[in-house]
């Protein structure tokens, strides 16, 4: 309960902060539309040559794109900014204030930042998804919707854990910013269902950077492709990653030495 209240308070501060920078909203809208435009052009180019890609038809791939845009927005609104701040604070030894607060350290470092305007992507993703679903002849049942949302939450948690693990290595390696760029590059691969990639890349996108679980699996849920095994696998991986990332952070905090004043 306390954690939720704290998260809400930080969210409030984050939103107030974002209201100070109105220009960012317009820039974000512009960026989103450019990304959406190039995405749609790419999709059209592919389907001008073929009617199917790795078992997915055009509308289904539009749904994948919707999930991709939406998840990207979630990551950039709530996950990435917190992790980048943490990286910076570890590097400069500025974690002191967060660690002297009577709150769970992991909770605190995970809720301090929020980029409201990234929600433009979330909304756009939802619209794209809606359009795709309306074009499908497939009736979506309650279970599919539940499976979709649970897969989405698990995907977001896995991406969060991935970021937290990478960020925690900053306690020892100090400069890990390049990894943020690497993530963005690999996340872009999630634009297409991971099934179309060669095995090695598919494995990497599933188990090393869980893009598959963040985008493809929720989209599978909506298009009636998700099997119970995959769902259970996702659940197991989410729990494992969460425990591992939490342990690593705790271990890292022990070796945190801060910067001298």
């Amino acid at each position: 309960m306390n954690g939720l209240r704290l998260a809400f308070n930080y969210l409030r501060i984050g939103i107030m902060n974002e209201f100070q920078y109105r220009a960012n909203l317009y820039i974000q809208i512009l960026q989103t539309f450019i990304a959406l435009g190039t995405g749609l052009i790419g999709l059209n180019l592919v389907f001008s040559q073929t009617s199917e890609l790795g078992g997915w038809n055009r509308t289904e791939l539009l749904a994948v794109m919707g999930v991709f845009i939406m998840m990207g927005g979630i990551i950039r609104a709530a996950i990435q900014p917190n992790m980048e701040r943490l990286m910076e604070e570890i590097r400069q030894g500025l974690l002191d204030f967060a660690l002297t607060k009577p709150a769970d350290a992991q909770l605190l470092i995970s809720i301090r930042e929020f980029r409201l305007w990234q929600l433009v992507d979330v909304i756009t993703g939802l619209v794209v998804l809606g359009v795709a679903l309306s074009q499908m002849n497939w009736l979506i049942g309650v279970w599919s919707v539940l499976a979709f949302f649970s897969a989405l939450v698990m995907g977001a948690v896995m991406i969060y854990c991935f970021w937290l693990i990478v960020t925690s290595t900053a306690f020892w390696f100090v400069r890990v910013h390049e990894i943020a760029n690497l993530f963005e590059g690999l996340y872009a691969a999630g634009r297409w269902p991971v099934g179309i990639y060669p095995t090695w890349l598919r494995m990497a996108l599933t188990f090393i950077i869980p893009v598959a679980f963040a985008v493809t699996v929720p989209a599978e849920a909506l298009t009636g492709r998700l099997s119970l095994q995959t769902w259970l696998g996702a659940l197991a991986l989410t729990i494992t990653l969460f425990i591992a990332s939490r342990a690593l952070l705790k271990f890292g905090l022990k070796s945190y030495s801060g910067a001298s004043a």
Binding site: L6, I13, M16, N17, F97, L99, Y256, S260
Partner: protein, 328 residues
């Protein structure tokens, strides 16, 4: 009374990578790194009683901040024991953290773009302060520091001193019992320093809080702390009354007089600091002061004879320069 802070043989060692300057050495560092063990804090012990305001002194790199960080639970000690309010700080128990605060003069925790009031609200949530308590404390502090017209301005538009006042309010809203203040007046002008000082003294008086303060401004220490703990190179040099420190370490006194036209080889009386106009200033070893003054008065017709203890800054400087050899 049982002490609220108790540390015994506390030590913190760092492994610091070390190499020669230059590209070749930097490249070699990729393969094999050489580490040096630095004893930032080297087995220091002291106790602090409830309500005490203790000055924690030492030159840069003496280990003050490291000690404060161990006491506030940020750093795990290499060895030795710490107890603050009966808790082991490194465990970072929430009950412990709720009762302490750490203020660092060179860091800020308030949201840069928002008015301080919004950041204060966040503190309320973090420390789960009941709303009424929170409002009362907040308004009390705002009044004490006279910042009523500033709390609604974005923090980025405040001056350094104004910002520090806000930082201090934010750090004390939960009414901590223990204050770790690391250079709270760093970079502030004299008036602002005084303001912060008065506020700390007032807080200590009203709430009986214990304060451990580091500062490079001796005025802060003189105004607030009866007792000082001095460390140097991680070792404890002195722990006791500030007046005792001055007595112990000020080996010299300054003797000034107007020569009244008489001239002599002043250096036979002591080290000549300056001769300006008719005014002569000498530095005389403490134990010879009375002998020198009576000689001056007897042998020469000097006027306006003054004897002054060295300013506290100089005393501290001499403590640091002599280092640990003089620790008994």
């Amino acid at each position: 009374m049982p002490s609220v802070i108790s540390i015994s043989k506390l030590a913190k060692h760092y492994q610091v990578p070390e190499r020669e300057a230059g590209l070749k050495a930097a490249a070699m560092g990729l393969i094999k790194r050489r580490y040096k063990n630095v004893k930032a804090v080297d087995e220091i012990s002291f106790d602090i009683q409830p309500g005490e305001v203790v000055g924690f002194l030492g030159p840069n790199g003496a280990g003050k901040t490291t000690t404060l960080k161990m006491l506030s639970g940020l750093l795990h000690p290499t060895s030795g024991s710490t107890s603050v309010l009966g808790y082991e700080p490194a465990k970072r128990s929430h009950d412990f953290l709720r009762q302490i605060t750490l203020v660092m003069g060179n860091r800020n925790q308030l949201s840069w773009d928002l008015p301080a009031l919004d950041s204060f609200d966040l503190q309320r949530a973090i420390y789960s302060i009941p709303r009424d308590d929170f409002k009362r404390t907040r308004d009390e502090f705002i009044e004490l520091l006279e910042v009523g017209d500033l709390v609604q301005k974005p923090v980025r538009n405040l001056s350094l001193g104004e910002r520090m006042k806000m930082e201090i309010i934010g750090a004390l809203l939960h009414k901590p019992k223990i204050l770790f203040l690391d250079e709270p007046t760093l970079g502030l002008d004299v008036t602002m320093q005084k303001r912060i000082r008065t506020f700390v003294a007032e807080y200590n008086k009203r709430y009986g809080a214990t304060v451990l303060l580091t500062s490079h401004y001796m005025a802060d220490v003189e105004a607030l702390c009866k007792r000082v703990v001095v460390i140097h190179h991680g070792k404890l040099l002195f722990d006791g009354d500030l007046s005792k420190l001055v007595e112990k370490f000020s080996a010299f006194k300054t003797v000034g007089f107007t020569a009244n036209g008489s001239s002599a080889d002043w250096s036979q009386y002591g080290d000549v600091v300056s001769v300006e106009g008719g005014r002569v200033t000498l530095r005389v070893p403490k134990e010879k002061t009375s002998a020198v003054t009576s000689r001056l008065l007897n042998e020469l017709a000097v006027d306006d004879l003054t004897v002054e203890t060295a300013p506290i800054e100089d005393v501290i400087e001499s403590v640091f320069s002599v280092g640990k050899d003089i620790v008994e």
